[in-house]
Symmetry: C2
Amino acid sequence: MKAHVYVTLKRTVLDPQGQTIQGALKKLQFRSVADVRQGKYFLLTLADGTSRDAAQKEIDRIARDVLTNPVIEEYSFRLEE
Amino acid sequence: MKAHVYVTLKRTVLDPQGQTIQGALKKLQFRSVADVRQGKYFLLTLADGTSRDAAQKEIDRIARDVLTNPVIEEYSFRLEE
C-alpha cells in the first residue's frame, strides 16, 4: 500500500517561494496563473500486510507528528492500494 | 480553476532526503513504513475564465519547462474546477 502525503503552508502564512515562482512565470509570459503556493509531497510505501485501518492511523500520526510543522503548515493524505 | 502539480525524483534517482526521513521514522518506532520518497507539490490558481483545454496545455508547459528538472525529476498534475 502507498500513502501520498501533501504538506502545505497554511493559507494565512506568507509563501515567498510561491511568490517567486509566480513572478518568474509572469516574466516567462504564462499569464493565466494568478497565484502559486509551494508545498511538500511525500510518497510512503507501507510494508505488505498492513491493513487499511492501521495504515490510516499510522500515516495520520506520521503526517501530524513528523512531516508537518503544525504552527505554519497543514497536511492531507490519501492511501492507494 | 486550480492545478495541483506533483514533482518527484525519477525512480532510478537516489533520494537521500527520503532515506533520512525513513531512518527517522524507524527510530520513532513507525515500523510499517518500508520506503519514503520526497517530492514537491505546487498549487497553482488560474485566472478566472481560463478554459480547461487552455489550462491543460499551459500547466503541462509550466510543469515541464519551469517546475521540473527533466534530468532527474518527473511530474504529474491534475486540474480542479
